[in-house]
């Protein structure tokens, strides 16, 4: 069993990438998505945003694949190996500097650091790249947890109506009445810190919105002819829901998930600052911003830690916002908000 973990750790990211690529390609055969891809292709900003997202995803995957050189050494990922030649310094140093910063007697640096180093001498570029994986997992895994749950309840509530609908509406009203941040705080205090606990907590707060959306859409579709025809033909409820109603909901679900991704990544950084996010050892942009807070008070000011983390975050969130908007416009221009 022990020997499976290293293999699993490397296979899972590749599997996820493969599933995503296959899903995108197969969707391209549907007329709805073919049209959407065509419209997206003409939007240069959207293509740029998608490229950026792909780049971040690639870095995240590179950071997930790794292996041990010998049975006793640590597991080193591809990103780790790219940075083995970059030495660890004594303390802070500015980007592309040759001496350390903030010491009474500056020491010469052992190597070149493109974005500087932090308090214990780790290269900032290395930390930033490690944060990509955390951000991608927070957004992706949380969506993976929240979406099936929300879809299931939304479909049941919208289709079966009456008691089931009331029960599900009561449940999600209860969850949405608790202020998000307080609910996450409560969940994280109970579960403890950590990446996967954070995904669970964020998933519990995120499923409500999608559930409400799904329920609304299912209510619209419930009385359409194709559903009535399917029922008249004697198809079982499950089959109708899964094979006929669900594909019609997918565009809206995908758009909502894409737009929500950026919100999840932002929330991770805020929660890491508050001390209830990922472990301090895991590289994450939130942890970098948290550390940067006291650095700004130093003399001379250590700004590069904060700048790298927030720029990396900013570019990813902006890319998701732009791509999400473009996707929404491409799939159905009627959904446009402006």
């Amino acid at each position: 069993m022990e020997r499976i973990y290293p293999i699993l750790n490397n296979v899972i990211p590749l599997l996820v990438v493969a599933v995503i690529v296959v899903a995108i390609v197969r969707a391209g055969r549907e007329p709805l998505w073919k049209e959407a891809y065509r419209r997206l292709g003409r939007n240069r900003m959207a293509i740029l945003a998608l490229t950026v997202i792909g780049l971040y995803g690639l870095i995240g995957v590179l950071d997930s694949l790794g292996w041990q050189d010998s049975p006793t050494s640590d597991r080193m990922t591809i990103i780790d190996r790219m940075f083995t030649n970059v030495p660890k310094e004594r303390t802070y140093s500015a980007p592309l500097a040759i001496v350390t910063t903030g010491e009474p007697k500056p020491h010469p640096l052992k190597g070149k650091h493109l974005l500087g180093t932090d308090g214990v001498g780790t290269d900032i570029l290395y930390l930033t790249l490690k944060g990509c994986r955390t951000a991608m997992i927070v957004g992706g895994f949380t969506s993976l947890l929240a979406t099936p749950l929300a879809l299931l309840f939304g479909l049941m509530a919208g289709y079966f109506g009456k008691r089931v609908d009331d029960a599900i509406q009561y449940t999600y009203t209860v969850f949405s009445s608790i202020p998000d941040i307080l609910l996450i705080i409560a969940l994280m205090l109970v579960l403890g810190r950590g990446l996967f606990n954070l995904c669970i907590a964020l998933g519990i707060t995120a499923w409500v919105g999608l559930c409400r959306l799904t329920r609304g859409e299912v209510l619209k579709h419930r009385d359409r002819e194709y559903v009535r025809a399917a029922r008249a033909l004697g198809l079982s409820n499950t089959r109708i829901l899964l094979r006929h109603v669900l594909p019609n909901l997918l565009p809206i679900v995908i758009i909502s998930v894409t737009l929500g991704f950026s919100g999840l990544v932002l929330e991770e950084s805020i929660l890491s600052y508050l001390g209830i996010g990922v472990d301090p050892g895991t590289g994450s942009w939130g942890n970098m911003i948290d550390a940067a807070r006291v650095e700004l008070a130093r003399e001379p000011v250590v700004w590069w830690n904060l700048a790298s983390a927030s720029t990396a975050l900013f570019i990813l969130v902006l890319a998701f916002n732009i791509f999400g908007d473009a996707l929404r416009d491409a799939v159905d221009p009627r959904l446009r908000s402006s």
């Binding site: 608790i178 202020p179 409560a186 932002l266 508050l274 911003i289 904060l306 927030s310 975050l313």
Partner: protein, 313 residues
């Protein structure tokens, strides 16, 4: 109208019961009290006697059913008991913290809405032109920046470099406004991106309606159309989305208050997280939910008051 209000209030009660069930499950069932005791006792390896003593002190050692009834009565009678970390009564802290929170958040709220409406009107006036395009793009940019960076950068630039405002802290009374100013500015700028985008959508929805076309055909100037017709009708969704935020004025912003050292309810929550104080977090969750439900009810009432079409159903 009164019947509508009463109905909305009655709908809120089962929700509150549901929420207290959820919090009970989270705090008493999902996390064993021994763990809480262990975290709060400063000794490295507390003896079972010490744990038991702590549990007894804070009322965690009774059977589940008794704890449940105690939990329910605590919440609904607003008798929150004592904090786990330092044994002080929670309700006193809440009363003390609500004032500064309210002062800060109401300023952020009012200034934010006024600023957002102005910019949204501006964008709606120039809709379709480059001005509109750039404003929308700027809003997307502003929305993409992390809240934290606004606060840190704002504190650094305006407090340290330009020395316009004091960095942090709070003193009650007449000089309090000095300390509130910087958090207010930061809070307003943070909300600007999303708010302008939302309000602009509301206004553009109105501009494309028939009555606006009629007004223009009658010869009304663009300004009259905007200010008299569009603004009044766009005010309905604006008011209803804003009223929902009023209860949060009391909870305060956890981030703003902890960064700027303002002793409000947000800061109190932050301290509770740091010291893993479950009792305080329980109380804040309940308070937050209560205020959210009040916010929903207020929103529905406001909607009924402002939009006559809702009243008639």
């Amino acid at each position: 109208m009164l019947r509508y209000v009463i109905r909305r209030v009655l709908y809120g009660v089962p929700i509150l019961i549901g929420v207290s069930l959820v919090t009970f499950f989270l705090f008493y069932v999902a996390s064993p009290p021994e763990q809480i005791a262990r975290r709060n006792l400063s000794a490295k390896n507390p003896t079972p006697q010490q744990i038991h003593q702590w549990l007894e002190q804070h009322g965690y050692d009774k059977p589940l059913r008794e704890q449940f009834s105690k939990h329910m009565s605590e919440l609904f009678l607003l008798r929150f008991g004592n904090s786990d970390a330092n044994g002080e009564p929670i309700w006193d802290h809440i009363k003390a913290g609500a004032g500064p929170s309210l002062m800060l958040m109401s300023q952020v709220f009012l200034a934010g809405i006024i600023a957002e409406i102005c910019v949204a009107l501006f964008a709606a006036y120039f809709r379709g032109t480059y001005v509109d395009y750039w404003i929308t793009f700027l809003c997307v940019l502003l929305m993409s920046i992390v809240y934290l960076v606004y606060i840190i950068a704002g504190q650094y630039l305006l407090g340290k470099v330009l020395k316009y405002f004091p960095l942090a802290g709070y003193r009650g009374g007449l000089t309090a406004w000095k300390f509130i100013l910087l958090p207010t500015v930061v809070g307003v700028i943070t909300g600007l991106g999303g708010g302008v985008r939302l309000f602009r959508t509301f206004m553009l929805d109105e501009i494309n309606q028939d009555y606006v076309r009629t007004a223009r055909a009658k010869g009304a100037s663009e300004q009259t159309v905007l200010f008299r017709h569009v603004l009044k009708n766009a005010a309905i969704p604006i008011i209803t989305t804003s009223v929902a935020a009023i209860p949060f004025l009391f909870i305060g912003s956890v981030l703003l208050e902890s960064f700027f050292g303002i002793p409000g309810l947000g800061g109190y929550t932050r301290d509770a997280i740091d010291s893993q104080d479950f009792a305080v977090v329980r109380a804040m969750v309940f308070l937050g939910t209560l205020l959210t439900i009040v916010g929903y009810i207020l929103t529905d009432i406001c909607y009924a008051l402002v939009d006559p079409r809702v009243r008639l159903e």
